[in-house]
């Protein structure tokens, strides 16, 4: 990893964090409508996974779409405008958060149906296989989806047809308000995929480099005709299930424990350890890294995290202004685009 890659990964994680922190404020203040699900704390999974994909690959997300969308390079203005229900949004205000689509970046669809994106991924992976151009599909879903019928049907079909499909399971320990231990007797979800003959890895989803490496391996395997891979990324959402969730279902100690594993702080510590971190102290995202480089060399050559965070927050603010200044869709558009 060179400084440029480190900067891209950290900058992406900061952009997702800044976007969602601002989004939470806007929704809480009723400046934005909708039922919005955040992924604060899970940024390393989306960032690491998308960093291993090509521009012509495809992605499906679940009901927490922001991470993969931002990591794939979706336009923040059009994303925020869509979440704000404006006509300048990606989907002209018809999608909102849970149905985002950005075809230009291969982001074929989010879905509000837990597990509903898995068979969509099968079909698109089948198209990739038929095209023979080495494209792959990555589908993001959570531990909650592992109890849906689609999950098992899709593992079976992907393996049966050796589809170029990467199952990116963001195991954040909760299906909505219910902890994993109360929604399944299976402790390691990767076990399901093993039974269907799919290569699996369970990994630290807070480690952006580990995720990127695992997805890269899965992608290489799929591009070579090897078929699907199942990656169980152990992660945690520091935010509630949705904006406004009172979160009575979890203990403060558990939250504090996972705040220690904040993926941004974790990557910062790693960069400091390998001498890639610049001198500036961050304003958020956890404690300053021990042994951060100081001095002119570090400032010039290392990753200036404060600048990345500042830039991320500025881009998000610009997106908020763009969104809130954009016109509402005309009532005449309520029944347009129903049929092609």
């Amino acid at each position: 990893m060179d400084t440029g890659e480190a900067r891209r990964l950290l900058g992406t994680m900061w952009t997702i964090r800044a976007f969602e922190e601002r989004l939470a404020e806007l929704v809480a203040n009723k400046q934005l409508p909708g039922l919005v699900h955040l992924s604060i704390g899970q940024e390393a999974t989306a960032t690491g996974a998308c960093a291993a994909l090509r521009a012509d690959d495809y992605v499906y997300t679940g009901h927490r779409p922001d991470g993969p969308f931002i990591a794939r390079g979706a336009d923040l203005n059009r994303m925020m405008a869509e979440l704000a229900g404006r006509t300048t949004g990606y989907c002209h205000g018809k999608a909102g958060s849970m149905h985002l689509v950005d075809v230009e970046h291969g982001l074929l669809s989010a879905t509000g149906i837990v597990g509903g994106n898995l068979p969509l991924g099968l079909g698109s992976a089948l198209v990739c296989q038929e095209r023979g151009a080495g494209q792959v599909v990555a589908v993001f879903f959570g531990d909650g989806a592992s109890n849906a019928g689609y999950f098992h049907e899709s593992l079976n079909l992907a393996s049966l047809w050796r589809l170029p499909l990467i199952f990116v399971c963001e195991n954040n320990g909760y299906a909505e308000f219910t902890p994993l231990s109360a929604h399944t007797v299976i402790e390691r979800l990767a076990v399901h995929a093993e039974k269907y003959g799919i290569p699996t890895t369970t990994l630290d989803g807070q480690d952006v480099l580990a995720v990127r490496a695992a997805v890269q391996e899965a992608v290489d395997h799929a591009r070579g005709g090897g078929g699907p891979t199942f990656l169980e990324c152990l992660t945690y959402r520091l935010s509630g299930h949705y904006v406004g969730d009172p979160q009575r279902y979890r203990e403060a100690a558990e939250l504090a424990e996972w705040q220690e594993r904040d993926p941004i702080a974790r990557f910062r510590r790693h960069l400091a350890g390998v001498g890639l971190l610049g001198p500036a102290a961050p304003s958020a995202g956890g404690e300053a890294a021990p042994g951060s480089h100081a001095g002119a060399d570090g400032a010039r050559d290392g990753v200036d995290e404060a600048a990345l965070e500042r830039e991320a927050r500025e881009r998000v603010e610009a997106a908020v202004r763009f969104a809130l200044d954009s016109p509402w869709p005309s009532p005449d558009e309520v029944a347009t685009e129903v049929y092609a």
Partner: protein
């Protein structure tokens, strides 16, 4: 994706065919015409239970004619994921009863992705399924569920009643850029009819007047078209001239043709095999009375099955299934000849 040579239109000797063979012809012709057309479903590579997909795998390979596990939800979702990237999958749901397992993908994904993406995605998908009460096959292999599909914005719904229409409508459905639910009545599968030479396309959204008449308009779908024609023959002896219209496509509905007939006759019977409450006939009745209230001389009569699951016993099945006698009775009622 090789393109085997095949006939693009049925030979003259093949022009009198059964409805299920007409379906097979449409699939062969569309697969030959467009390499983007794929067929998938349970047992389709071996022809399926009724032979609708017979011979396709031999012609086009098991890559394009793909057997699936018994996973209706994921079969449907797979087809949606194919369609958004430009393929034209034809999914076979073996019995429309089984579509209950695929309704999430059909309703929440196939039907909505064009709208929800602000027009970025298209879902050129055909779902073939057969329905129909016959032979005591019972409640999970006989239902008529088309009213569910009609209620979902984004879906088109087609019900052929003749071999020529089955071929022509299916070809049009495959070429359509929207998800189309294509419901075939199993009781019609083996009935013969002429199919025209050439493409024989039948556009979606065009009703057909099967018999002209000036006294009453019978609006029928699927198997009830033939039953209505039989009833009309019976009624000629009573001096009643019924006009029988085969709707062919429920969505989009050819309301213009319907209204033209209603304005002429002033009396209307709607007839389908599905149960009456909440059925398509209710929607049709509402649209007709709203658009042609001043032309109506009598309440609109409806023919459909009783509000019960489809029973297995022959005596109960016969009591359940609406047919020519029920249509004739409804016509008499519409004419005040109870």
């Amino acid at each position: 994706m090789s393109q085997p040579a095949t006939t693009t239109a049925p030979e003259a000797a093949d022009r009198r065919v059964s409805l299920v063979v007409a379906i097979n012809q449409a699939l062969r012709e569309e697969m030959a015409r467009d390499p983007a057309v794929y067929v998938l479903g349970e047992d389709v590579a071996v022809g399926g239970p009724f032979g609708a997909t017979a011979g396709l795998a031999e012609l086009y390979g098991e890559g394009r004619v793909r057997n699936t596990p018994i996973s209706e939800g994921s079969i449907m979702g797979t087809a949606v994921g194919m369609a958004v990237l430009g393929l034209r999958p034809v999914v076979e749901i073996m019995f429309v009863d089984f579509i209950t397992l695929a309704m999430d993908q059909l309703v929440n994904h196939a039907a909505k992705l064009h709208y929800l993406s602000g027009g970025q995605l298209r879902v050129p998908l055909v779902v073939r399924a057969q329905c129909g009460v016959m032979g005591g096959w019972g409640a999970h292999h006989s239902q008529s569920l088309e009213a569910w599909f009609v209620h979902v914005p984004g879906l088109k719904v087609v019900m052929p009643a003749t071999p020529a229409d089955a071929r022509g409508l299916l070809k049009a459905a495959i070429r359509d850029d929207n998800p189309v639910v294509f419901v075939e009545n199993r009781a019609l599968y083996w009935g013969l009819g002429d199919v025209p030479p050439g493409e024989g396309l039948v556009p979606l959204g065009q009703a057909a007047v099967r018999q002209a008449g000036g006294d009453v308009t019978v609006l029928a779908t699927g198997r009830l078209v033939g039953e209505a024609l039989a009833a009309a023959r019976d009624l000629t002896g009573e001096g009643i001239a019924a006009e029988v219209i085969d709707l062919r496509s429920l969505v989009p509905l050819d309301l213009d043709s319907v209204l033209a007939s209603v304005r002429k006759t002033g009396r209307v019977v709607v007839a389908h095999e599905a149960v009456l409450p909440g059925g398509y006939g209710a929607e049709l009745t509402a649209q007709v009375q709203r658009a042609a209230f001043d032309y109506l001389d009598a309440p609109i009569e409806r023919v459909g099955a009783p509000f019960a699951p489809v029973p297995a016993s022959p005596s109960l099945e016969a009591a359940f299934l609406p047919g020519r006698a029920e249509v004739a009775a409804a016509v008499r009622a519409a004419l005040g000849r109870r």
